[in-house]
């Protein structure tokens, strides 16, 4: 990893917090959402200096035909990253667009599985974690920090995310159980009432 002179973590974290509405709108997945993520990624790669047709690298970000909630979560992080990575102080060396395209793929898909997109921008530590993931993908170090310090800090933030995920999953499981109880009670209650008149027997 290489130190980028003048690059400050706080400024990048603040930039992420100021993500503008066009990058906050729901990404298009299947028939839902509004932002064409493949177009956003294509623009970003061109801006970062990728001169060739960016289609092969943007293809994974096409909306597809079917809505998939995991994909939508991933794409929301891709939009946040597209805003962050437009920062003019981030490195624009040979190979940067390829590194960025890789980062937008599997690493962000994995991150989306453990971080709620809405929470990511609200909480300073989650924003810092996101920025650090982006810097690691680019092989960039902020000024005044060693590679070991950067890696240790990212590891600490990752652990917190995983603990948060456990809490989120527990809450989700409880919500599922509550809903099952509500449906079960409704079915018992309605069984005692009348159905609707049906014109034929089954």
């Amino acid at each position: 990893m290489k130190t980028v002179p003048g690059l400050r973590l706080e400024r990048l974290v603040a930039r992420l917090a100021a993500c503008p509405p066009e990058f906050l709108a729901p990404p298009r997945v299947g028939a839902e959402g509004v932002v064409a993520v493949d177009v956003v990624v294509g623009d970003l790669l061109v801006e970062l200096g990728y001169a060739e047709d960016s289609w092969p690298m943007t293809e994974p970000f096409e909306p597809g035909t079917v809505f998939d909630p995991d994909r939508a979560r991933h794409f929301r992080l891709v939009l946040f990253a597209a805003w962050l990575l437009r920062d003019p102080e981030l490195p624009r060396e040979a190979g940067t667009p390829q590194s960025v395209a890789r980062f937008l793929g599997e690493p962000l898909r994995s991150l989306a599985a453990v971080v709620e997109p809405a929470r990511l921008l609200d909480e300073p530590e989650r924003r810092e974690e996101f920025v650090r993931h982006a810097l690691a993908a680019l092989g960039a170090l902020v000024e005044g920090e060693t590679q070991e310090e950067a890696e240790n800090r990212l590891e600490t933030l990752n652990s917190a995310s995983k603990q948060h995920l456990s809490a989120v999953l527990r809450a989700k499981e409880e919500a599922v159980l509550r809903r099952a109880d509500a449906v079960r009670e409704a079915m018992v209650r309605k069984d005692a009432e009348e159905g609707a008149a049906k014109g034929m027997r089954e």
Partner: protein
């Protein structure tokens, strides 16, 4: 439940006709009350569904099916659990199947997360495999039976007129030890009256009443299972229905021909179940799918699709019940895979149907 909740759209004249039928001197011992439970907006949606059938396909198009599957895996607790790790790109055929046993065990897990429970109704059914089920449903899903029944009748050249031209529009006949009998009305048939009758003698005041009542109401359409229609043959009322629509059990060709000759009208056999509503109607070669929002598959035990001529389990995806979206639902019924002249699926030798 109040009468106006059962029949929100029935006017005073309709209520008078309904009450007159309740008081009919040859009427059965009514033992139940039920209605369509449709308000004006719901009726419009049901009628729009009916109109759409004029040009709709006879099974759910592949793209719609795939979109439906994606939503079901996202929104329905059971499918989300069973299809964990499935991605739309894996393809529809990679989805797991579910069965009546799953529905019997945890019907609540079939209800989508966001489905509003206020309109939930339930139908108990035992089904072919003997697993007692409590099927969650919705008045609009039930109301959409009529347009699909009309579609099956239309294939035999029969059009229902409804209205008040006849005393009763539709009569559903049963011949069971115990079942509900009631009188109601169908707003979507221009408020034609609907009666559910049990031909079992104990349900009537006089042994002559079933025949006399049937003659008096002169229903435009009679629906029922083959047992009830056998009893109808024995009673031999002098009636002129436009059609008989048989459901719930296999209709033997001999009985079908006898009924057609006795009542001088088409006898239409429809394959239907509480979980899905009307599925297919009989043609000379087998049962042809009927609903544009339902996909019918024939699957082997290992989940592989049956080849032409091979027998497999009837498996359903789709439907119009907001409380029970079906995703590769194994019905417990079996048929061989046939094709019609256009290459569409036909269910040959359909077996397993028992009254629900």
């Amino acid at each position: 439940m109040k009468e106006r909740d059962r029949q929100p759209l029935l006017d005073d004249a309709g209520r008078e006709r309904l009450e007159a039928l309740r008081q009919h001197r040859h009427a059965p011992k009514w033992n139940h009350r039920a209605g369509e439970r449709l308000d004006a907006a719901a009726l419009q949606r049901v009628q729009a569904f009916g109109k759409s059938l004029a040009k709709a396909p006879f099974s759910m198009p592949r793209e719609e099916r795939n979109a439906f599957a994606g939503r079901a895996v996202r929104d329905v607790p059971l499918y989300r659990r069973l299809a964990k790790g499935w991605h739309p790109e894996d393809g529809f055929e990679a989805l797991p199947t579910v069965s009546r046993e799953d529905l019997a065990r945890e019907p609540w897990s079939f209800v989508p997360d966001a489905a509003e429970l206020a309109d939930l109704i339930t139908y108990p059914t035992s089904g072919t495999t003997g697993h007692p089920l409590l099927v969650p449903s919705h008045p609009e899903a039930v109301a959409k039976y009529l347009p699909l029944m009309a579609r099956a009748l239309g294939r035999h050249g029969v059009t229902l007129e409804g209205g008040t031209a006849r005393p009763v529009g539709v009569a559903l006949l049963g011949w069971q030890k115990h079942t509900h009998s009631f009188v109601s009305a169908f707003a979507q048939l221009d408020h034609a009256l609907f009666v559910k009758l049990n031909l079992e003698p104990d349900d009537w005041r006089s042994p002559h009443d079933p025949r006399l009542f049937l003659q008096s109401i002169d229903a435009e359409l009679l629906t029922g299972d083959p047992l009830a229609f056998s009893e109808l043959l024995r009673l031999s009322p002098k009636i002129q229905p436009k059609a008989l629509l048989s459901t719930a059990m296999s209709l033997a060709p001999g009985l079908r021909d006898q009924l057609a000759a006795q009542f001088a009208c088409p006898v239409v056999d429809v394959y239907s179940m509480n979980e899905a509503g009307p599925i297919a109607y009989a043609t000379p070669t087998g049962f042809t799918p009927l609903a544009p929002d339902l996909t019918v598959e024939l699957l082997q035990a290992d989940g592989m699709a049956c080849a032409a001529g091979e027998r497999g389990e009837v498996t359903l995806t789709g439907g119009r019940n907001p409380f029970l979206p079906l995703l590769r639902y194994r019905t417990g019924d079996y048929a061989a895979r046939g094709v019609d002249a256009k290459g569409n699926l036909v269910l040959e030798g359909l077996e397993g149907r028992e009254p629900g």
